[in-house]
């Protein structure tokens, strides 16, 4: 097993000390458009909060407000008891960020990228070099130490961005689409590393459009739409409460689907028609109705997922504002 970077251990938390991020009544207007509408949430020590929502829902705006890159229009934010934006500089010493867009220094080598970033945190040379070596090992980049960024693969760049975010041993790690555009092997390697960090108690705030990723990593999700929180809780519990246990996806003609829809009413299920497809979200075991599907063009039965929940809460229409 790869050696792990030193854990972000903290002393036994005092009362209220286990709240890492506290956001209350936060709003942001761009002109007259409301991007974030009076939201409140908290992230607790050691937790991974999945931050979900369609494009334009307000996720990135909220994260940028936490980082002081967007000025809030109203409300209050605290990161580790530090008031944002007033004590932003102090807060940023305790935060690591993996941005959505690659912002590595293309002219510098892998190692120089980390050392330069360490200097922004005023980390002393010797400590920075030790930490750099440790992180390159952890993210399987040690053999690319002297490589120019241009020559790295997409997965290696993402790993380096992660390593860079950890250079200051942050207590809070903010991950904005950490595996976007990567192949499955590269994604799994990143997940594996994130899980190790989680076990060490690093608190995370994760946004991603890959809902399997969020389901995999998050203890709790928060779904935003049109600037408001539409649901929050543990993924499995939310899915069970708001979607159901299983999903049938059935294809057929309108007449066939009409008939099926009637039959499925015997079972505790919600139904949705999309073109020539019928989606049945069951609240109880409806496997006894499977015999009705013998003549269908095609059908499948699968466990309800976060994706079903997401679509249910935010709709099927495209968000391309």
């Amino acid at each position: 097993m790869t050696p792990v970077p030193s854990p972000t251990q903290t002393a036994a938390p005092a009362a209220g000390d286990d709240i890492i991020v506290q956001v209350s009544g936060l709003s942001k207007f761009f002109g007259s458009r409301c991007a974030v509408d009076n939201i409140s949430f908290a992230v607790r020590q050691g937790e991974c909060l999945g931050f979900l929502g369609p494009n334009g829902a307000g996720k990135t705006t909220t994260i940028n407000m936490l980082l002081g890159l967007v000025a809030k229009s109203g409300g209050a934010m605290q990161v580790m008891q530090l008031d944002i934006p007033r004590q932003q500089q102090a807060a940023k010493r305790l935060i690591g960020v993996v941005p959505q867009a690659d912002s590595l220094d293309p002219d510098l080598t892998v190692e120089e990228n980390l050392l330069t970033y360490a200097s922004y945190f005023n980390i002393a040379g010797r400590t920075a070099r030790a930490r750099t070596a440790e992180l390159l090992d952890f993210f399987a980049l040690a053999n690319r130490r002297q490589e120019i960024i241009e020559h790295l693969s997409g997965g290696q760049r993402r790993r380096l961005l992660l390593a860079r975010a950890l250079i200051n041993e942050p207590r809070l790690l903010i991950l904005d689409e950490p595996t976007v555009g990567l192949d499955p092997q590269a994604r799994h390697l990143i997940w594996e590393r994130l899980e190790i960090l989680q076990q060490q108690g690093t608190t995370m705030l994760l946004t991603s459009h890959y809902l399997d990723e969020v389901e995999h990593l998050s203890n709790r999700v928060l779904i935003l739409d049109h600037g408001s929180i539409v649901a929050q809780g543990a993924p499995s519990q939310l899915i069970k409460e708001l979607v159901g246990t299983e999903v049938f996806v059935i294809e057929g003609t309108a007449a066939e689907l009409n008939a099926l829809e009637k039959s499925f009413k015997q079972c505790n299920a919600a139904m949705e028609r999309v073109n020539d497809r019928l989606y049945v979200y069951t609240q109880e075991d409806c496997s006894r109705l499977e015999s009705l599907l013998k003549n269908s063009r095609s059908w499948l039965r699968r466990p309800a997922s976060l994706e079903d929940l997401f679509i249910q809460l935010t709709g099927r229409s495209l968000r391309e504002s």
């Binding site: 002081g68 510098l108 970033y117 922004y120």
Partner: protein
């Protein structure tokens, strides 16, 4: 040493610069040296002396200031804009304890440093052309660095307003080139009618050119102190404005 945090960005830029050192030096020095050669040697042969200086001697200190102006301004336009947009360097830096002021100061000081370096190399090469600077030239260096700060801050102001690289054509064609031609580098401003001359004297490069000529040859003319103080105030104003505009650009 909180207020010195900007030095880390300066160090980052110098680390990148060391990898492309030849290309940037030739880019910054090529133009002023070619001008010195063509105008000083070529044209200068035909001209009489100005204030007791040969045309080559008259020209050289002004061209040194122009190399400061161009190196500093190009660094904080094309260079900074690349870091702002393409490379997202500022975005990455804003995730760290460094703020907008640190970024602006780091960039401006870096631009001024490159300007000063160009000036030092040019001054060191003047004896090759038969022009020998006086010991007072050492006192010229801080003045040139200040001028570098001013033009770097102006460049950063442009960068804060730019939406693409083409935008800098305005800056170069409408500001830098006229300053290069009309700040008394190529001809003495004394020959211009007094009323029009005030306008030329107030151009930001003009006092630097005349200070440069004074210190280069150790001949002082009033009001040299006023020129230094005026340039200093203008530099502070430009720096202040660049921080404000950069903040407006980066923080929504």
């Amino acid at each position: 040493m909180n207020y010195l945090r900007f030095r880390t960005l300066w160090l980052r830029n110098s680390r990148v610069w060391r990898k492309h050192i030849m290309a940037t030096l030739i880019g910054n020095l090529g133009q002023p040296l070619l001008f010195l050669l063509a105008m000083g040697f070529g044209l200068g042969q035909q001209m009489q002396t100005i204030d007791g200086l040969t045309y080559l001697q008259f020209l050289a200190p002004g061209l040194v200031t122009s190399s400061v102006m161009y190196s500093a301004a190009f660094e904080t336009t094309y260079g900074s804009y690349t870091r702002l947009s393409l490379q997202k360097t500022y975005e990455a830096i804003l995730m760290t304890p460094l703020g907008i002021t640190d970024i602006a100061l780091g960039e401006i000081c870096w631009g001024a440093s490159k300007g000063l370096l160009s000036a030092i190399i040019m001054l060191a090469m003047l004896p090759l052309f038969g022009v020998w600077p006086s010991v007072w030239t050492l006192a010229l260096l801080p003045v040139l660095f200040m001028s570098g700060l001013f033009f770097a801050a102006c460049g950063l102001i442009m960068t804060s307003m730019a939406s693409n690289y083409e935008f800098f054509n305005y800056f170069i064609s409408l500001i830098l080139t006229p300053l290069f031609l009309f700040s008394g580098i190529f001809f003495p401003l004394q020959t211009i009618a007094p009323r029009a001359r005030i306008f030329f004297e107030l151009l930001p490069l003009t006092p630097i050119v005349s200070l440069s000529r004074m210190l280069c040859y150790g001949q002082f003319q009033e009001p040299w102190l006023l020129k230094i103080i005026g340039s200093l105030l203008l530099t502070l104003l430009a720096c202040w404005l660049s921080v404000i505009l950069l903040r407006r650009r980066l923080i929504q």
